[in-house]
Amino acid sequence: MMSHYAVLFTFALVAVGFSAVALVAAQLLRPSVHEAVKESTYECGMESVGTTEVKTNIRFYLFALLFVIFDVEALFVLPWAVTVRALGPVALVEMMVFLVILFLGLAYAWGKGALAWDFPVKKPISGD
């Protein structure tokens, strides 16, 4: 019989095939009446102003960076968690040190304001 990874590969083909068949079948069955108003951008009925190529807030980028750091650390913790009993107390202490360092990193980011959704806005100097 097939190995588990060969089954997974077949599963991937079937899953992609399923979504492709669903989309193509809908394409064949649906009515298709093109109309300029229907295909305009829907923004609550108002006419859309400008394009979507706007500047987005930097905070999304910051959260993505933090995620990459912590996700890689999670991958580092996983093999330790599987073999924690075999590795014994020394590895446990080492992992605790590592987690404390991680937490300090989080605390640093927190203190620097990287976790704030709304950045503190400097008030305009009065009299200007």
Binding site: V7, K38, V54, A64, L106, W110
Partner: protein
């Protein structure tokens, strides 16, 4: 047609005898309790508009009327009878079927035998067996989407004293979702002119394919999984992560500013909540010493004091904390209320799927419900013992897949319940809750779990 369509016979309005004044009440209370039941509330008389004779209020029982004295209503008593019959039939089917996993060996040997008899190449029986397993497992996300959409509508209706779908299919509108699915299949597929055409078109496939793929290593019972991966847990989390890309594609490719904001918010939220979700599972891995979903379930077999199950949720403090963090993060990962910021309809129209219609929209919908089912399957496998019985004397009474299904249904009910209980988070509170509360606590939880493991071993 359901019994709702028939007009229940109005019972004769019994005039309630004028009760004595409050002063006589103590004397009445001293007597043995009056056996007389309170008179059933008479059906409301139909109300018509005087001008045009239009029916304003039907002569029918609304749930609120019925709940004043439910036992006097034959419909209410019949509902219990129907429920008991349904549960009995389900139990009988489970007992009759037994462990489904035991069919694997005879079927594979049959396929190998037939393959040899017909001179097929050596890989053919394996491929057929793989396809059989895949098609069976694919039924889980697809059927669960159909059933849970209907169930959610019924639950939400009953929580708000409504009836919900009642007509399509006869019994409590059980075919409503199928009808909706056909409608969505036939709806026009609109691609806005401002959209990035291929990114827009491919996004639903990128979201739904990983959602289906993530079910491959899930163990639905004893020997019941499509691929019994040794790294099943990592694989499931990896697949759940791929969908973020699809949501970003949908947000960016739609050419709509609300979609863009919804997509970005969604990416930030999904990516953030993935961390506590992952860290909450690490104590489970430490206790089970395995990444294989079937092994994690099997590690929770056995009973404390011969009665209480050795489920990880019952490990004091660590288990409950892990389960709570995992549950909260799972609700956030599935974009459900109270974490439905990406599609907050009062702020962002519909978030990343504003511009989607027809089948493309229903694929997003399918993915959402598939992820909800997946989260419940994972929570049941990690914390509620997978296919093990909840009490020692029930062990072996039902097959493992039936216990697993029961746990998943209970968890799904909680997910649907949350929706009608909690208000939506504000977006900055949402991120704060994750980074400043869940993540530090999940670190502390790992440390505590480490102490447990050292003490126990």
């Amino acid at each position: 047609m359901s019994e709702d369509a028939k007009d229940p016979k109005p019972e004769a309005p019994k005039p309630v005898p004028e009760t004595t004044t409050a002063a006589a009440a103590p004397a009445a209370a001293a007597k043995p309790a009056a056996p007389a039941k309170p008179a059933p509330k008479p059906l409301p008389t139909p109300v018509y508009n005087e001008a045009d004779g239009r029916l304003l209020k039907e002569r029918r029982l609304w749930p609120t009327d019925m709940w004043r004295d439910p036992w006097s209503q034959p419909r209410y008593r019949m509902a219990w009878v129907k429920l008991i019959v349904l549960v009995a039939v389900a139990l009988g089917a489970a007992l009759l079927l037994g462990e489904v996993g035991r069919f694997a060996v005879p079927v594979t040997s049959f396929l190998l035998e037939k393959g040899a008899a017909y001179g097929l190449p050596a890989w053919a029986p394996g491929l057929v067996w793989a396809l059989v397993k895949i098609v069976l497992v694919l039924h889980v996300p697809l059927l669960s989407a159909l059933v849970f959409v209907w169930w959610e509508r019924k639950i939400s209706a009953h929580m708000q004293s409504r009836l919900g779908p009642m007509y399509v299919g006869g019994f409590h509108g059980w075919l409503q979702t199928v009808a909706d699915g056909i409608k969505l299949l036939l709806k026009e597929n609109i691609t806005p002119t401002a959209a990035d055409t291929w990114v827009h078109r491919l996004a639903p496939a990128v979201v739904v394919a990983p959602a289906l793929l993530a079910f491959a290593p899930v163990s639905f019972g004893k020997d019941l999984s499509a691929a019994d991966l040794d790294v099943g847990l990592v694989y499931v989390f990896a697949m759940a992560g791929v969908s973020v890309v699809g949501i970003m594609m949908a947000g960016w490719g739609s050419g709509n500013k609300y979609s863009l904001l919804g997509g970005l918010r969604s990416a930030a939220q999904l990516v953030s909540y993935e961390l506590p979700r992952m860290f909450a599972v690490i104590p489970v891995i430490m206790f089970a010493e395995s990444l294989n979903l079937a092994d994690i379930g099997a590690a929770q077999g056995g009973y404390w004091f011969g009665v209480l199950p050795r489920w990880f949720i019952f490990y004091p403090v660590v288990g409950q904390l892990s389960f709570l963090i995992f549950l909260i993060a799972s609700v956030a990962e599935t974009n459900r209320i109270p974490f439905d910021l990406p599609e907050a309809e009062s702020e962002l129209v519909a978030g990343f799927h504003t511009e989607y219609s027809g089948m493309k929209f229903s694929l997003f919908f399918l993915a959402e419900y598939a992820y909800m089912t997946l989260a419940c399957c994972l929570a049941a496998a990690f914390f509620l013992g997978g296919g093990t019985a909840p009490l020692s004397f029930l062990d072996g009474f039902l097959p493992s897949w039936a216990w697993f299904l029961g746990k998943v249904l209970a968890l799904v009910f909680c997910f649907l319940w949350f929706r009608w209980t909690f208000p939506r988070f504000r977006v900055d509170r949402l991120m704060d809750f994750n980074w400043k509360f869940l993540l530090p606590w999940s670190f502390a939880n790992i440390a505590l779990a480490g102490l447990y493991v050292m003490v126990l071993s």
